[in-house]
């Protein structure tokens, strides 16, 4: 498994994934089975990104992009119809209409791809070839997107339908003449349905009941309803029935011939469906990437390097609270990197941002980072607890230890993101555990990032370390409110130099947030004694 559910939740991955919205039925189905690019697929990965880069350039032309989007939305799913054709069945008119729409949109898409010289990325038949197929479903000289079994499919149709129309017109005229005669003789007018509704007390009622050419349709205690009766001679009825049957037969023949005509093109159509599905997915990836101002990630086999990395979901949430997001600069090598800093210093956000950028990158998206270099890994695991859930501290800790032990001795190196291992236990044990886990992980070849506020972790040999830049010089002495900490906190991560001590800022934060001065002073004294 590339990412477990807990990791997806911790990285807020689903919220970003929901911005990936293919528009064709095939693309929407394919999204559900999308897999990340894994080690060994670097070429395909870069090819996918290259395609998006080209689509992105092309989409600068907004009119072209709108047309592309509109075409993709109109591509119907004809897979079931093709399956019927493969089985030798004959589709009905509504299915041929769908096939015609598919060909119509395919021609448009081919034209759009050609306009931006993108055919080499999405190899597909040329506009002319689509037109040839369209002609099978549109024998009339003018190509239209609609479909009907019109006369141009078969000369016999034209003749038979003309005969039928002429007969119907004669019948209509005969009916109009007969009806006018009834009205003239009785003075009673027809309603909109061509019926005479006659009050039962009407003096003409007996006459109407006897009258040749009128039929009593229904009678109520209040009125009687008559309709014209224009009986056909047996021969005429037989002729008309035969005419109708002939028309139906020719129409059925036309549909059957269409099915035969499309047989040689079935594999090309199936290939086209796959190509449009791929184009749809790529277009949707490109659009999602554009929403988070994504950049193309560069392959780097040994390290992750972000310049200006962002987490679009967290950035949005902060924006709603009128708080800025501090972009992340970070370089992570194989081994263990420790990020140390005070509570509320943005360490967890950094972890989530790195994990999200890595995951989106592997799913073939442009990533929310001004620059991003990254490897492909077979797994990403984030062990990031819910800091708000104090009551479940110990049980959460147990679950996290379980998840950790499942991944850390996996043979293939992956990306492991850990947030405050050992929290929820007492501080001494927590610190010891945190350092021990870190030490153990240095023996593997994973990319491990461990954020913590336990300074003891820094004593582990062979680790890389960053520290949160931390509090700026506080302005004024007034009390802070929690939501305003961001105004004084510098969330940047700075590489920790050999021998550099970690600033202790918890007491400063506590003091600024209103803890009595004597309590803070006492805490400082105790620290000094230690």
């Amino acid at each position: 498994m590339f990412m477990d559910q807990e990791t997806e939740a911790a990285l807020l991955f689903t919220a970003c994934w929901s911005r990936f919205q293919p528009v064709t039925p095939m693309g929407q189905e394919a999204k559900r089975t999308c897999r990340p690019f894994l080690p060994g697929q670097e070429r395909e990965w870069q090819q996918t990104l290259e395609e998006q880069e080209r689509l992105l350039e092309a989409a600068d032309d907004q009119r072209w992009a709108d047309r592309m989007e509109d075409c993709l939305k109109r591509v119907p799913d004809i897979r079931m119809i093709l399956s019927r054709l493969v089985r030798g069945e004959v589709p009905g008119i509504s299915e041929w209409f769908q096939v015609k729409r598919f060909l119509w949109q395919s021609r448009n898409l081919s034209r759009l791809l050609a306009e931006k010289a993108l055919q080499s990325f999405f190899p597909i038949q040329r506009e002319k070839e689509w037109e040839t197929k369209l002609r099978i479903l549109n024998p009339a000289p003018v190509l239209t997107p609609s479909f009907s079994v019109d006369d141009s499919f078969d000369l016999r149709l034209k003749r038979l339908r003309k005969q039928q129309a002429a007969w119907e017109e004669r019948r209509r005229q005969a009916a109009a003449t007969a009806a006018a005669e009834v009205e003239r003789q009785t003075g009673i007018r027809r309603n909109r349905d061509g019926e005479w509704v006659v009050d039962r007390r009407h003096p003409m009622l007996p006459h109407l009941k006897e009258r040749h050419g009128l039929r009593l349709m229904r009678e109520t205690p209040f009125d009687a309803v008559f309709a014209l009766s224009l009986p056909l001679s047996e021969q005429e009825a037989e002729e008309q029935e035969q005419l109708a049957r002939q028309i139906e037969t020719v129409e059925a023949e036309v549909l059957k011939r269409l099915a035969e005509s499309f047989h040689p093109s079935l594999s090309a159509l199936q290939e086209a469906i796959r190509t449009w599905c791929r184009l749809d997915l790529q277009w949707a990836r490109m659009r999602a990437g554009r929403r988070w101002h994504g950049r193309r990630p560069v392959y780097s086999p040994d390290s992750y390097e972000l310049r200006g990395g962002r987490h679009p979901v967290i950035e949005q949430r902060l924006k709603e609270k009128d708080c800025p997001f501090t972009p992340l600069d970070l370089h992570i090598f194989r081994g263990v990197t420790v990020i140390i800093g005070p509570n509320m210093g943005g360490k967890t956000v950094a972890l989530r941002t790195l994990g999200l950028v890595a995951a989106l990158g592997q799913y073939g998206f442009f990533v929310p980072s001004d620059e991003a270099r990254m490897p492909l890994v077979p797994w990403i695991t984030a062990i990031i607890g819910d800091h708000q859930d104090a009551e479940s501290g110990l049980s959460t800790f147990g679950a996290e230890v379980k998840r950790l032990s499942r991944v850390w001795d996996r043979a293939e190196p992956g990306l492991l993101l850990m947030d405050e291992v050992g929290r929820g236990t007492n501080p001494r044990e927590g610190a010891a555990l945190s350092a021990a886990v870190t030490a153990r992980l240095t023996a593997f070849n994973h990319w491990v990032v461990h954020v913590t506020h336990y300074g003891e972790v820094l004593s582990v040999r062979g680790i890389y370390a960053y520290r949160v830049a931390g509090l700026k010089q506080p302005e004024g002495t007034g009390e802070w409110v929690a939501k305003e900490v961001h105004r004084w906190m510098d969330y940047r991560l700075l590489p920790l130099q050999e021998g550099e001590s970690v600033p202790r800022q918890a007491l400063t934060i506590a003091a600024q947030m209103g803890l009595p001065v004597e309590v803070v002073d006492d805490a400082r004294r105790r620290l000094d004694e230690q």
Binding site: S94, S148, L157, R192, D193, E251
Partner: protein
Amino acid sequence: MLLDLLMGEGLQSAAVIGLSKNAGKTTVFNALIMEAKERSIPVGLVSIGVDGEERDVWSLQKKPPVKVPRGCLVATAGPLLEDRAGEWELVDTASVHSPLGPVVIARALKSTEVKLAGITRVESLREAQARLQQNGAELVLADGAYDRKAAACPLVTDGAICVAGAALSPSMDTVIRRMEETIRLFQLPQTTESLWRLAGERALAEGRVYGVAEGEIVPLPVSSLLAASSTWQKRLRKREWECWAIPGMATDRLLQKVEEAGRPLPLVLTDPTRCFASMSALRGYFRKGGSLQVLYGVKLVAVAVNPVSPEGYGFDPVEMKRRVSEVCHPVPVVDVVRDVG
């Protein structure tokens, strides 16, 4: 003529709804189509299922066919056009599904008949309407589901024609009473107070109850007043509310619960089709100082009467039309079978 009533109001869409099953909706629907044909007005036809419910296939099969003149547009399930394959030109699709398959927009190449597949969701219906209009329909006629008022929902069509048929009851008094109730509902006043309207719109958009108190719109932690009555009754008693806007239905029980809280205040419903309260309950509520108002009113263009029941009995057509006219005044009443155009 019936069509004049629609066109005179400048409506682009209208639903034909029945007071009961077998009211005679299709007859009225067909009459409108014929009138439009005579006047060369391009018409689009669509059938409305009940929003949120699937219309059952049994009902669909029993439906009489709709007469479609040449050039008329329909929105229906593709498979329903296959029987008369040569008589249709398929011009567009909608991303809408009916129980009988995906919906297509088709133009009749000659006079023919069609079964209209019921579209069940408001959004889908709007899309089908838009597609019919894009393809040239100047007037969209919607065949509403029987015995439901949902089709007349003003969020769906611009106006409605209600058909009162003898099929409702062998007693003309019962038919007239039901018609009167429906008319009273359709005449519920439309809210004009801007804050109340805003509360109504929020209630509709968010599916929760909103109140207005002291010039302020206040969200309430309930989506309907049909449940959790003790919670909302407490809140009702706490403040001087001007009104409450509710996104769901109003029933006798709901009005009774509001009265129990001692505050029969004005309630704002989305539209009259959401009111399922009886006349007597409504009357009682108004008398105690409460009121029911709507965000969107239904434009009832006409009432059509059908004095004949398929059960075999019938009413005196003249008397029925007269009595319905009395209770529906000033809404015009027509009898499309007996009125000669």
